[in-house]
């Protein structure tokens, strides 16, 4: 008799219900299986109507973020064996509107990401003849950690400020802005600071720190935000005391 484990999955079918419900499935337990494997088993063999997002199944695409037993996780990285004896509760990520079952709408994050201009901005592009931009390993080191973000949005799902104040720009967007601010090739730190110093920018953060805890790629968005606050405050002081210097 093959060991099994119960999977309690949140279902939401807007055409037939107004609130989410739970449905329990009995899936085989294998010690090398992750929650994503179990969900795919459900979809293949038990209930083809279950909707969820996934892609690379190896922790680099950021598609499969969900809540496993109440904690935001990538389901491709959440081993069944870590949650035994079960039942294992699988729900959609918090603080995003649920479209269907485990699928959430991520438009809000996408818009916020664009707002921070996460690309290299230069006052003048170098002509091709001048060759490539060079960067020392130390210069790379200043922003590399923040560049590891896979946009999985687990940090948004963990941030109570985002839950309470949906207009908050959020951990990943700020971390990615900082990634470009610290990049020696970029020249738009001031421009981004103007955007992020607005009411729902960096100052909304109260350093709960949960975003860093749940990040699967060790981006440390909380650290990025606190560094950004210091940068923002220093810039504010400079513009107050030396207004001519900051034009």
């Amino acid at each position: 008799m093959q060991p099994t484990v119960a999977l309690r999955v949140a279902r939401y079918r807007p055409e037939q219900e107004s609130e989410p419900t739970f449905q329990t499935y009995e899936v085989p337990f294998r010690k090398d299986w992750v929650v994503l494997d179990a969900l795919n088993y459900v979809k293949d063999k038990l209930d083809g109507s279950l909707s969820f997002r996934w892609s690379c199944r190896m922790g680099v695409c950021g598609s499969c973020g969900m809540k496993v037993n109440g904690s935001p996780k990538l389901t491709c990285a959440a081993f069944l064996s870590d949650s035994m004896p079960g039942p294992i509760r699988v729900e959609p990520m918090d603080y995003f509107p649920v479209v269907r079952d485990l699928v959430v709408d991520i438009t809000d994050f996408m818009q916020k990401l664009k707002k921070v201009k996460p690309w290299i901005i230069r006052k003048e592009e170098r002509p091709l003849a001048e060759g490539e931009y060079r960067q020392t390993p130390d210069e790379l080191d200043t922003y590399k950690q923040f560049s590891m973000c896979i946009n999985c949005m687990l940090c948004y799902s963990a941030c109570p400020i985002y839950g309470l104040e949906p207009s908050f720009i959020g951990p990943a967007a700020i971390a990615l802005a900082q990634r470009y601010n610290m990049d020696s090739r970029d020249e738009a730190a001031r421009e981004r600071l103007e955007i992020l110093s607005e009411h729902d920018g960096i100052w909304q953060c109260t350093f709960v720190g949960e975003c860093t805890k749940v990040c699967p790629k060790n981006v440390d968005p909380a650290g990025a935000i606190q560094q950004y606050k210091l940068m923002g405050a220093a810039h504010w002081l400079r513009s107050l005391l030396l207004p001519w210097g900051t034009r």
Binding site: G70, P97, D141, L164, F207, G209, Q227
Partner: protein, 139 residues
């Protein structure tokens, strides 16, 4: 989480759950966070106690003696004891989080977090010792 269906405008079928007022009881980190934030109340409490002491000092020896007597009452002793614990909690969480905000780079390499934390604790010890010395020597 409380019930309370709250649909997103223009997408009446998308489900949005309202965040409960008890969100901070949901996990240990959130509760710890709120306790950490509440340490500020005890910080303000003591700042006001010192302000009161300063005022008593300015008013004269009787007022000052009266203030010192007030500090000996059980109510204040209990409040002070509780406040002391919360203020310690503030100090510890503050120093432990310092390296997140203050990133020091020496010759291109980031100074390790434990050095920043250690320097903070060292400063704490040195300053506390200096204060104790000055206050007690003046007596």
């Amino acid at each position: 989480m409380s019930a309370g269906v709250h649909h997103t405008p223009y997408h009446p079928k998308w489900y949005r759950r309202r965040v409960s007022v008890w969100w901070w009881l949901q996990n240990r980190t959130y509760t710890g966070f709120v306790l950490r934030e509440l340490t500020s109340v005890f910080v303000a409490f003591f700042a006001l106690v010192y302000l009161w002491q300063l005022r008593a000092l300015a008013q004269g020896p009787e007022a000052y003696a009266h203030f010192l007597a007030l500090l000996k009452t059980p109510l204040f002793l209990v409040l002070d004891g509780v406040a002391f614990l919360f203020i310690l909690f503030h100090s510890i969480t503050w120093f432990n989080l310092a390296p997140k905000a203050v990133v020091v780079r020496l010759k291109g390499k980031r100074v390790p977090d434990w050095v920043v934390v250690g320097l903070n604790y060292a400063a704490w010890l040195v300053l506390s010792g200096a204060v104790a010395f000055i206050v007690l020597r003046g007596g």
